[in-house]
């Protein structure tokens, strides 16, 4: 399952929204069809529709969903928009996920899982090693942060934490998962996240999808 689709699904699950997933057939180049380009002019997934509202970019879609379901209890606080400082912290760590964490971690996922499974391409160990080196430095910062706060933006879970789920979930299926053992607060944070019902449910779907791809 696409990591960016999973990013949105986590938010949908967290707010308890009713939704359906409509498959886009990449093999049949459906993502480049006129119909899909009308939803996402970059020809990517996810795209999203809620009545007349059509959106793309997974983080923008996720924010729309969180704001729409604002009154739904804990979901109200995922963006912390009622408090300037807390909202700023959510934004900072959401940007950190996008521009520091993901660029270091995702190449390992691509090289160890996605390229071999989907393109039959062997792992480029040089890329993996360079990425792991970058990731260690990023995790040093996360370890310091999570030694002081239960979650990235403060003491309760936020959009910033949720954004880390999809790629980290797949990272844990690579041979390098044990890297997190060197960062006890990061590891504990991750374990808190994946204990959430939304992530248990999605994790099961993602693992099944991955198993399906390997067999194909």
């Amino acid at each position: 399952m696409s990591t960016n689709v999973a990013r949105v699904l986590v938010c949908l699950e967290e707010v308890g929204a009713e939704y359906e997933v409509v498959n886009i057939d990449f093999q049949a180049k459906e993502h480049k069809s006129a119909e899909h380009l009308a939803r996402n002019p970059f020809g990517q997934i996810p795209a999203f529709q809620d009545g007349d509202v059509v959106l793309f970019e997974s983080r923008a879609i996720s924010k729309y969903i969180i704001r729409k379901y604002k009154s739904a209890g804990e979901a109200a606080d995922l963006l912390r928009e009622g408090d300037l400082r807390e909202a700023a912290m959510v934004d900072v760590w959401t940007e950190v996920e996008a521009h520091q964490y993901n660029p270091a971690l995702s190449p390992v996922v691509y090289e160890c899982l996605i390229y071999p499974a989907m393109r039959g391409v062997p792992t480029n160990q040089k890329v993996v090693d360079e990425s792991l080196e970058k990731l260690r430095k990023v995790l040093d910062v996360y370890e310091a942060r999570l030694s002081k706060h239960t979650y990235l933006a403060g003491d309760s879970v936020s959009f910033a934490d949720l954004n880390h789920f999809p790629f980290t979930f797949y990272f844990m299926a690579t041979p390098h998962a044990s890297l997190f053992d060197s960062y006890p607060h990061v590891k504990a944070w991750w374990e808190r996240l994946v204990a959430r019902p939304s992530m248990k449910k999605l994790g099961a779907t993602m693992a099944a999808a991955a198993a399906g791809i390997k067999q194909a």
């Binding site: 002019p41 970059f42 509202v53 959106l55 793309f56 970019e57 983080r59 923008a60 924010k63 729309y64 704001r67 300037l84 400082r85 909202a87 700023a88 934004d91 900072v92 959401t94 940007e95 950190v96 996008a98 521009h99 520091q100 990023v138 910062v141 310091a144 942060r145």
Partner: protein
Amino acid sequence: MAPLKLYGMPLSPNVVRVATVLNEKGLDFEIIPVDLTTGAHKQPDFLALNPFGQIPALVDGDEVLYESRAINRYIATKYASSGAALLPATPSAKLEVWLEVESHHFYPNASPLVFQLVFRPLFGGAPDPVVVDKHAHELAKVLDVYEAHLAQNKYLAGDQFTLADANHASYLLYLTKTPKAGLVNDRPHVKAWWEDIAARPAFQKTAAALPLPPPPSA
């Protein structure tokens, strides 16, 4: 009110991204130099501001922030009633989409292009033609999408200039000073949008403050 402190090199496009918004808001700020060429960004006193060791960082009283887009949203929110309104009163999904488009489509291509074509020569190096060609090719496809969108929308989020447009300004400024300016100028709606941004008094102030070397004599 004490001026806000923007830490970084005045020419850095990510620093200029923040200066753009500070000026749109009419806020008093000073740029505190962090000299990347001496490794100042990896020293403990800067790491105390941004543990990832990158510029910019912003200090506003007790608030310390990093990541230029997070800084910009904070400024636009806190100082909503000051200067230009960069965020609408009720959140706009379309604005969020185009903020993300800048971050994930425009910037990943504009940034290496500007680095190769503007900054490498500034530091005595030469652009890498392979990197330039790759990112120019990708940015052309991205800007085709912008061209179609701006044919239907005056600004990225609709009728009004917003944070989504402001976040593009620094890289557009640099890009249009390079041999790849055609990426912008050959697309009529993208060009008109850029010229509109460039004509804004606040942006003219931002651009004028850049310590750019004079262009080479013809």
